[in-house]
């Protein structure tokens, strides 16, 4: 094992303009928000974002102008409603929206994690989402070679970088995600590079006490960055809950056309005049 402990700046250098990214967590839970704010601060451009059910993580990057394309199963703010920047830019044609469905997106990650060019799934037949996916080239109808059953082959999704916020890791990249895992382990295995931001660094000795608690072994992790409160305002199980008030503040800013002020205050941390 060798140390992959990295500074915030070095870790964000793994993300090139135009990269295909996915993030850990789901909606308002354990998204790597501070890393995302750093991507905004660094002015990353033309990113393609892909995930099953993201929320503020995607919308913030979209709102800050970092994103060219989005592919999700659903992108909204749960009971608070639509994702404001996603909706606005998508309707204006300022971003390209390729809607998927949760299972094909998960299956695409799984295919890449398994080292397969594609993976079959059921369902999808009769949905216009299948039609547009066939046009895009991400899904194809096939017949199972044994049963002849109609299946949908989903093309592997191999993100350039998967960014995951976790509770704990050692300096070598042995990572402990606590509570719900979502598809984080699958995403990490699928991606070319894996950046993990953590609430807390622990020693390898501590990791060795409960190997069954390690969710990502070091050899699939490229960078570990210590970022306490790194998921805020999303939750980080065992550390803090979602700050739903902050999320509503975000939505109000977007609704009132004061999103730039939100960015200044909460992302760039510029003094307001």
């Amino acid at each position: 094992m060798k140390s992959v402990l990295t500074s915030f700046e070095e870790a964000t250098e793994l993300v090139d303009d135009g990269a295909l990214l996915t993030f850990g967590g789901a909606t308002f839970q354990r998204a790597p928000m501070e890393f995302i704010r750093e991507l905004v601060r660094q002015g990353k451009k033309n990113l393609t974002l892909i995930d099953r059910e993201p929320a503020m993580d995607f919308d913030l990057l979209i709102g800050a102008g970092c994103v060219a394309k989005v592919r999700t199963g659903m992108l909204a703010f749960e009971v608070f409603g639509m994702a404001p920047n996603f909706r606005r830019k998508s309707e204006k044609g300022e971003i390209i929206t390729k809607e998927g469905a949760c299972q094909p997106i998960i299956a695409g990650f799984r295919a890449a994690a398994m080292g397969l060019p594609s993976l079959p799934v059921k369902g999808m037949l009769g949905s216009d989402l299948l039609t547009i996916s066939e046009v895009i080239g991400s899904q194809k109808q096939i017949e199972d070679p044994f049963t002849g059953e109609k299946m949908i082959a989903v093309k592997a999704i191999e993100p350039d970088v998967a960014v995951i916020h976790a509770q704990k890791a050692d300096a070598f990249g042995n990572v402990r995600i606590e509570g719900p895992l979502y598809e984080d382990v699958i995403k990490a295995k699928a991606a070319k590079k894996v950046v993990v931001t953590v609430e807390e660094l622990i020693s390898a000795g501590e990791i060795r006490k409960t190997p069954e608690a390690t969710t990502l072994p070091h050899f699939i992790v490229d960078a570990v960055v210590e970022v306490p409160k790194g998921a805020y305002p999303c939750s980080c199980f065992n550390y803090y809950d979602t700050d739903y008030d902050h999320i509503q503040e975000y939505l109000q800013a977007a609704a009132k056309d004061t999103f730039e002020q939100y960015l200044d205050k909460c992302v760039y941390r510029r003094e307001s005049e």
Partner: protein, 253 residues
């Protein structure tokens, strides 16, 4: 009729009633009504159901809901974690019995739209997306669609985009499945030879005619159309206890 029961609570109860004991049931994102419905079912007529949360907990104690249906606090005292990809595998094996899904538009055949108003490549309204709809609707034995705004803009002659498959010509899968629609006005099913939407029951205080007027296609009434069963006060109290902040009412604004 008992004291007037609020519509969200009626809907929760109607959704709970669609679950049978021993069913394996999943809810997804943004699903306060399904979470409440599943919780009510498990504490009443379906104590042995397998409750799989979108937050990944199995058979958690749902003592409270949150604005996010993935909030890890929904996993309190779970017996296990079960990831969505595992639940989807279960669905592919035919072992997920009931799923709850939303709809921004729904047509007479049960096709739902959660993708776009207007054209997909030139959206008038960019909707959030269908999540698991396109995957689960053809392969899940029972799909319960909830719709909090029963109007002719939601119950439409033809959906702008087929996100979730109803009994359409291109989806063989759905033809075997049961689709139930629970709206703020009534409960609809497709239990007729043409597999078109019909009114199964009308919520207290509403009428068949009111549903027809608010539906954008010619909706039938089932021969045995009746009134939607009303929850007892202890169930209403249970719903209130789990959702003291009234999160369930957020979709009704």
């Amino acid at each position: 009729m008992t004291d007037k029961i609020a519509t969200p609570d009626l809907m929760v109860y109607a959704m709970a009633s669609e679950i049978e004991n021993f069913n394996t049931v999943l809810h997804g994102v943004s699903s306060p009504l399904p979470v409440l419905g599943m919780s009510v079912a498990r504490r009443t007529h379906a104590p042995d159901m397998a409750y799989i949360s979108g937050a990944e907990g199995v058979d958690s104690e749902i003592d409270r809901i949150y604005p996010s249906s993935f909030d890890p606090r929904l996993n309190r005292n779970a017996v296990a974690y079960f990831g969505l990809h595992e639940a989807f595998d279960l669905a592919q094996r035919g072992e997920l019995n009931v799923m709850f899904l939303g709809a921004a538009q729904i047509d007479r055949f049960g096709n739902t739209n959660l993708s776009v108003i207007g054209k997909i490549d030139n959206p008038k309204v960019q909707l959030p997306g269908g999540a698991a709809s396109a995957f689960l609707m053809p392969i899940t034995p029972k799909v319960v669609i909830w719709a909090t705004r029963h109007t002719f803009r939601v119950f439409v002659e033809a959906v702008d985009f087929v996100t979730g498959q109803g009994y359409n010509n291109r989806s063989e899968g759905c033809k075997k499945n049961k689709i139930v629609v629970v709206s703020n006005l009534g409960v609809m099913n497709f239990e007729n030879p043409g597999r078109t939407m019909q009114i199964q029951s009308v919520h207290p205080g509403h009428t068949v005619d009111e549903i027809k007027e608010n539906t954008g296609f010619d909706i039938l009434a089932a021969p045995d159309v009746g009134e939607t069963p009303v929850p007892d006060q202890d169930i209403v109290d249970l719903i209130d206890r789990i959702d003291p902040d009234g999160i369930r009412r957020s979709e009704f604004h």
